[in-house]
Point group: C2
Chain length 389, copies 2
């Protein structure tokens, strides 16, 4: 495989049953199962090229245009595991060549969207392709970043916590394919003020060590998961939405019960939550669900028929600043309606907050990682990044 | 007792073990015991005059200069219970005369400080004085507003949840007098943006009905309470402070786990929390504790020796707006120090927020309700308020 190169892209996923807390830090084994939807790659993806060559002296890695240390233990976990599987095949040269890895996201890392999931899933998928390694890749991706194991598949993906101490049963599996629920849409609201957050690795360690309520959460997540799987299979939006919101709130509740407390929601996040509940109350039906990860950005799940109306409300309550030249609505096209009526607005007891939301991304549930054509490569024929910062 | 009048004042209390959730809505019986410090009445109090006269046609009540309906069930609970006890004494006219009640707080109701506790405690205490009713008053005050039962005593007060379904053992008792911990000080930070909150009656009902984590909280509060009583008796500030902060965070965590979620903390509350933890980290010792009730205002517990330094930091991070003419530091005098040094400020990774805090009130643990002189009366000799809005 001397001089070979492979380029792939992998999706972002947003959990509706939240992963927060490890039972094994080294193998990245979670205290509870989690469940996510994989987002459409046309809107959000990581892209990775890996080249292997006997000419390379060292393994090297470039992330978003900047060379990083390959000695990062999580990168090492992934490289070692893929090489171990390659050696096991026994059909190649077991003295494995060095690799150059180059990875980029098509969305700003500063947007606070969990980029490590897509990044590690893509790295694992690309390495596996290059080495011709088969078998379950979610177990490898998990050892890069826990939630990355869910980005190995499209559609709706369950990461089963597993029972074994070696982690071999802590795997992701698809519970419904990308086209299972065609009318479901996703709207990501990127909040402007991205404060420096407590990292999720540190945050979840402190929660497991100090939150008294966490024990109860671990007891109730299996019920949430079971109900959620049924709701997805039945395309029962009301149940799906309610559990999604309760899960998000409960995850942030155990963060707050951590000592010292960990905060990810801001006043803007809170206004978005109030807007969603007010919308559902106005509709006399749960038509939109919010979920927040370890940051202030909202991810809304909703039906296609509600997208224009909800975008209109976001536009009204969180109008872009007059100095904004960038697109406020990105991703899949949205047919904008006229302004919300006064009658409609009377249902919302929330103030208007100009510039509080930077932009929206409109997407839907998408498929898993895929290999791209050679011309998409991020590396030159000599194995160096085409674009360096 | 025709034509009699009595005027009293009663204190505010701030819980360090939080009351959130009733097991009986009508009798106001809590799901867990709670514990508070009574604040000094020179800084914060409710004042109530009650006149009884055979000339009065109806019971009437004026709160902060405005006549309110006396048919409010909580006011009725209190009136009925005091009259029942009066009738039981059997030494008076059992055809009880009508009363005029007039009550005022010496702090703005809009400040979001729990005023109902002081108000109901004062009403009960004054009625009991006027009627010459003896016996346990916390049981009566509890039926006006749960936390009011703790304002019937000074010092540190435990409200025992009790076991009986009639509530006769759900009483407050003093666990340490007002002068038990002379060096303890209290600093209330009144946050400027008092958003419309979900009321605590409604909020706690929804939490009990929907929060899955609440069940675990009810299991752990007895341990918190036991440790807290010991910490107060031992004057062990570090334990007192840690449990106070964990209790506050856990109460807000179950609010967030409520569906729909209930929010009382704002971005300003969060910055205060971060400031306190950074201060404690800088001191390498827990020297300040925060606690938040059903609103964004902070109540800080700290030692006398730390007051000037903490006030200086609040002044720095939350400076009053240039248009502020009112006193920023109120209550007990504070000897202001020079500005915090750059070295000191380097420990705080928080932004400055001008005008985010309206003012501070400096106080300490104080005594229980007391009767005032006749000239303090809020009512004229004909039983009408001296000051009407």
């Amino acid at each position: 495989m001397d001089g070979k190169c492979c380029t792939c892209r992998a999706p972002v996923n947003i959990a509706v049953i939240k992963y927060w807390g490890k039972r094994d830090e080294k193998l990245i084994l979670p205290v509870n199962s989690s469940l996510s939807a994989t987002l459409g790659m046309d809107e959000l993806h990581a892209k990775t090229s890996v080249a292997a060559s006997s000419q390379f002296k060292d393994d090297r890695i470039w992330l978003n245009g900047k060379e990083e240390s390959v000695s990062n233990p999580r990168i090492q976990n992934v490289l070692k595991e893929i090489r171990r599987r390659y050696a096991q095949k026994g059909d190649g040269d077991s003295a494995v060549m060095k690799v150059h890895i180059c990875s980029e996201n098509n969305f700003p890392t500063a947007a606070g969207l969990a980029s490590s999931a897509a990044g590690y899933a893509c790295m694992v998928y690309t390495l596996a392709r290059l080495y011709g390694v088969d078998g379950e890749l979610s177990e490898v991706a998990r050892q890069g970043s826990g939630s990355a194991c869910r980005s190995v598949y499209g559609g709706f993906v369950l990461w089963e916590k597993g029972q074994r101490s070696d982690g071999t049963d802590s795997l992701a599996k698809q519970i419904a394919p990308a086209d299972h629920w065609p009318a479901l849409r996703i709207l990501i609201l990127v909040v402007s003020d991205q404060k420096k957050q407590v990292g999720s690795t540190e945050g979840m360690q402190t929660t497991v060590a100090t939150s008294e309520l966490m024990q109860r959460r671990i007891e109730v997540v299996p019920q949430h998961t079971e109900q959620m799987i049924k709701a997805i299979k039945d395309r029962d939006f009301e149940t799906f939405a309610r559990i999604t919101m309760q899960e998000s709130n409960q995850f942030h509740a155990v963060c707050l019960d951590t000592y010292p407390p960990v905060f990810y929601l801001t006043d803007t996040s809170r206004l978005i939550i109030q807007m969603v509940h007010a919308y559902n109350t106005m509709c006399e039906k749960t038509r939109v669900a919010y979920t927040f990860d370890a940051g202030p950005n909202a991810c809304l799940y909703l039906m296609e028929e509600d997208v224009a109306r909800v975008v209109g409300l976001v536009n009204h309550f969180f109008p872009p600043g007059s100095d904004t030249s960038e697109n406020f609505v990105r991703g899949r096209p949205v047919t904008l309606l006229e302004q919300p009526s006064q009658e409609e607005l009377a249902h919302f007891q929330i103030p208007r907050s100009e510039s509080a939301i930077k932009y929206m991304i409109h997407t839907k549930v998408g498929s898993g990682p895929e290999e791209l054509n050679e011309e998409e490569s991020l590396l030159t024929s000599s194995g160096l990044p085409k674009n360096l910062l």
